[in-house]
Every structure is written in C-alpha cells, then in structure tokens.
C-alpha cells in the first residue's frame, strides 16, 4: 500500500491508475446506476491494462466498454444489463463469442454480492443471507453455499468475503486526506471501500477538511482507508451524481444501438478514449454548455444543528 507524504493524497487520474491498478488486479469501480466513475474506466483502457478481474454489481456501460477494449478476463457481477434500456452487447459478445477475448463470469444476486462486500469489509469469514434456497444459482456458482444454522433454524445461504485489490469510488466531495462525503443512492460504496486493499476516491469537488468536519454524518469513507483522491468534475458522465448532474439517458440509448457492432465500438473507443488525453479533454469535446441540460434544479435540505459542546 503506497502512502503519500503530508497526508495529501490529491493526484491526477493518470497517476492514480498508474500507481493503483496493475495488470491481473481485481478492480471494483462501484456505484449503483449513479456515481459510476467512467473517467477511471477510460484511463484504465488508455493505460492498456490486461487480464483484470472486474467487479461490479451492475456492470453497466463502463464495463461493457472496458471488456470491449480487452482489459478483462473475468467479471464478478449480480445484474448485467443497460439499466432501464436493455442488454450489454459487448459483454454478451465476450461471453457468447469470445470477442475480443473469452470472459469468465462469476455471478451472484444483488444481496449476495452486497454480502460479499460486507463480509470483506468487516473481515468476516462469510455473510449469511436468506437467498438462493431453491435457485439454480447455487449450482452455477459453487462459492455460494448452504450451511446448517448452528442455532437450529435450518439451512441458510452463505457467501465468502470479497476483498478487491482496488476500489474506485466516485462521490460528491472529499478533502485532500480522502475523507469522503456522499449523498443520494449510497449503494454499496461504504462496504466496497472498507473491503478493498487500495482505495481511490474520485470527486466532483475537493473541499477543506473543516467542511467535512461540519457534517460528519455524511462522511461515508474516512481518509484512513483512502490511498488517492482524484478531482475529476463530470467524471461519472454519462451516469449521474445526485444534485450535480442527471444521468445522460441519450448516451445510454445511443450506446444500446452503437454497441451492437464491435467495429463501431472500437471506433468509439478510438474517438472518445484513446483519442483523448484525459477527462478534461472529454468534457471539452462535448459541446459547450452540454452539462447545462443535465443540471437539476436545486432542492436544498435545511441545515441541521450539530451543536457546539465546550
């Protein structure tokens, strides 16, 4: 685990990926529908990582793109679709036709994969859940097991801990030490962060430590377990960040059409990933004012009083 001087962990995306993600790593770029760090996925493609094990509950477009680019040999997931739209054609091509390379699948239900993260985060030997009884998923994935409840209520499913080599988590804001605040769909971001061996947080805004300290309930991930902080505005586009920008649904619909053809995907990767130096160039390439239509109207929560006790 690499520690940086001064507790100042702010680095560029390029550095964060170069230092944090090697070939053959297991990588979790998480976030349920929103908070998906496309900027990190694109940088991993640009740095031409290979043989990764990609972990995500909902692989979404970002893993479709990373798998089409040949970065991965294995996918751990619980729902493989273009959310609200349809299929993920690149992943299906890899599974069904080994294009561009074969892809091994390891499959859970949502609660099963959440449970793997939770056990990994708390360093427990397994997570017990009321699922899988009667399902063929038990046969499809031998890591999901049934055990006898030692307290006598019968059979219960268990899943083993999952400790990704690297987690990449997008959020609204963090300070330079990596104390990270997130609001909206919390997903599994906290569990993944605590489960992982190396944590990169990517944020829309870098704030002063004092700002974090004024609202400690909102700090989902402490800097204690964070290795790198990347400031990357619009880094989750075309997914959404609560209060900052909406999902760019037209991009999701466009991908549904485009991704049905591997050659078209490669051309897209050339234009939007390999052909650009970084996320700032991506944002610039989108038309000026592009994000205006994705910006929600404000809906402010009234401040709460934590009180000052001295």
């Amino acid at each position: 685990m690499k520690r940086l001087a001064n507790n100042d962990k702010l680095v560029s995306m390029q550095e964060a990926i170069a230092n944090g993600v090697g070939d053959n790593c297991s990588v979790a770029i998480e976030g349920f529908t929103g908070f998906i760090c496309f900027a990190a996925g694109h940088e991993i493609i640009r740095q031409r990582r290979r043989n990764l094990t990609l972990i995500r509950m909902t692989p979404d477009l970002i893993y479709d793109q990373m798998i089409a680019a040949g970065t991965a040999s294995k996918l751990i997931f619980s729902y493989m679709g273009n959310p609200g739209v349809g299929s993920l054609y690149c992943i299906r091509r890899a599974v069904e036709k080994a294009i561009p390379c074969p892809l091994e699948l390891e499959e859970y239900s949502h609660y099963g994969l959440v449970g793997r993260y939770a056990a990994g985060a708390a360093r427990l030997p397994f997570f017990a859940l009321r699922s899988y009884l009667g399902s063929d998923m038990l046969e499809a994935n031998p890591l999901i097991k049934l055990i006898e409840d030692p307290y006598g209520t019968g059979k219960i499913a268990v899943v083993p801990p999952l400790n990704p080599d690297v987690a990449i988590l997008h959020a609204q804001r963090a300070d330079r030490k990596g104390n990270t605040q997130l609001w909206g769909l919390l997903g599994m971001q906290k569990e993944v962060a605590f489960a992982s061996k190396h944590v990169i947080v990517v944020v829309e805004e870098v704030v002063e430590e004092a700002t974090v300290r004024l609202d400690p309930n909102r700090t989902l991930i402490p800097g204690l377990i964070v290795n790198a902080v990347v400031h990357e505005p619009f880094g989750a586009h075309p997914s959404c960040i609560q209060g900052y920008y909406d999902r760019d649904n037209e991009s999701y619909l466009a991908w549904d059409k485009l991704s049905q053809d591997h050659a078209a995907v490669l051309a897209w990767l050339d234009e939007w990933v390999y052909g650009l130096e970084n996320r700032a160039a991506y944002v610039q390439k989108l038309k000026q004012g592009y994000f205006d239509k994705l910006k929600p109207e404000p809906l402010l929560a009234p401040p709460v009083d934590y009180g000052r006790y001295r």
């Binding site: 959310p83 069904e96 609660y111 009321r130 009884l133 499809a140 769909l185 929600p296 809906l299």
Partner: protein, 255 residues
C-alpha cells in the same frame, strides 16, 4: 364500463394497480410496474410506499424514473439507505408486502428465469441475471408477476431457475423454509392467472374482454389448468385511462 379504445399495456397497468388495493409497501421495478404503482397511489392504495432495490424507501418521484437508480427517486423520498440495509432491514426483515417481478421465462409453479436461455456454461442468450430478484422472490410476503403471454416465456421447463416460486408445487416452498408466501398472481396482456389450488399450479382465473381460453392456451407451453369459474376482467375505466395518460405516464413511454 368505458368503451374507448385502450392498449394492452394500459389494461395491464390498470389491472396491476387494482391488485395493489390497500397495500402499504410494494417493491417496484421500472417500466410498467412503476406506472402501475403510481396509478395505485392515485386510486386504490393512497398510503402505498414504493421501495426500490437501489436503497429508496417511500419514493415520490416527480417524473417517471428511467431506471431503479434514477436520482428522481431520491429527492423527496422518506428514506434512502445503503443496499445492505435495504435488503437486510427492509426486505429480509419482512417489510415488503408485495413484490412485482417479471422474467424471460416462467413455469407452471411461478418459478422465474432471468439468467440464460440455453445451457448455463454455453448460453444461447445471456440474460441480465438475478439482480435482487432471487431474494425478493424468497422474502416478499406476496409476489405478483407482470409478463406478456408468449409461448417462449410460459415454458414447460425453465432453462435456469433464478428466482423460486412454488418450486415443484404443493408445499415444497414452505418445506424448504422460504419466508415469503410466493407467487399469487400472474398479470398478462390477455388474462390473469393465479395459484389458488393445493398444487400451487398456475391456473387461468380471469380473461380480458374479447379474449378466449384458446387464445391464452396458445401462448402457454403446457396444458393450462382452468379455475372453477373464469371471470371477465373489467376494462380500464375512463378515470384509470385519464390518470395513466395525463398523470402517471404523460409521455406515453411504456404504452
């Protein structure tokens, strides 16, 4: 009775909303079930709380959500929690009264496949997989399926059993110790089916106006059992159609 023309989807939405009568909590997916739940809030279930697997309890979306992770579900909700809490404290705790599910294949006992067509290791078609469906089917107090009648969907044998219904029928579900009650209804575009017999086998219970038993049987891959009496389902009322078209789905996204 309203004589105005309506679509198959509008009929399904109206029926799915009616069966939520009096319910307090419903576990929702996107698309048609979401419209049905919002219609029910305007009509038969004003206290209905919408629960989404993305971690939202008591959603009051101002627009039709595009996915179950749409940020419109967060703004104005009663509570937004982690997925660990949603599955553990809401679903597994038994707080989900009704879950609405669908799938690529369903069998006569209401078991669902959303995983593969063909063999698991060498699929003809790779489908999305479980998502939360497996644990939802196991833990929700009651499960209603919403699926269009198609012969390739209503199959004699599933290619893969993702989410348990009544398993092999009879009391097989209870014997395995699944907490929830399992499938009660299948709402389709032609008819309503239920499992109200000791074998817990899907049976035809209501036909939509203008539909014959043979129309339903033609789309089901096994000899379909018939309920003792088969009712005709009431067509959507003027009020239901007005609410669907002008209030809950003004853009007609799912009609």
């Amino acid at each position: 009775m309203n004589e105005a023309a309506y679509t198959d989807s509008e009929m399904m939405i109206a029926v799915a909303a009616r069966v939520l009568k009096g319910a307090r909590t419903v576990f929702v997916g996107v698309g048609l079930p979401n419209i049905a739940c919002n219609l029910a809030r305007h009509t038969v279930a004003p206290d209905l709380e919408l629960i989404y697997e993305s971690g939202v309890y008591g959603a009051r979306p101002e627009r039709l959500p595009l996915s179950i992770g749409d940020p419109t579900l967060v703004s104005g909700a009663t509570s937004v929690v982690s997925m660990a809490d949603l599955f553990g404290l809401y679903l597994q705790r038994g707080l989900v009264e009704i879950a609405l599910l669908g799938g690529a294949q369903i069998d006569r006992y209401g078991n669902l496949n959303t995983t593969v067509i063909g063999e698991y290791r060498k699929p003809k078609t790779r489908l999305p997989g479980s998502g939360g469906a497996c644990e939802i089917a196991i833990n929700a107090q009651r499960t209603f399926m919403i699926m269009r009648l198609k012969r390739r969907a209503f199959v004699d044998k599933l290619d893969f059993l993702t989410s348990p219904g009544h398993l092999t029928g009879g009391d097989s579900r209870a014997r395995l110790g699944l907490p929830g009650g399992g499938p009660e209804l299948v709402i389709t575009d032609k008819a309503i089916l239920n499992f109200a017999n000791p074998q817990r086998e899907m049976q035809l219970s209501e036909l939509y106006p203008g539909v014959a038993v043979s129309d339903v049987q033609a789309e089901v891959g096994w000899p379909l059992r018939l309920a003792e009496t088969i009712k005709e389902t009431a067509a959507p009322t003027t009020e239901e159609l007005h609410l669907i078209r002008d209030e809950v789905d003004p853009q007609g996204m799912y009609r």
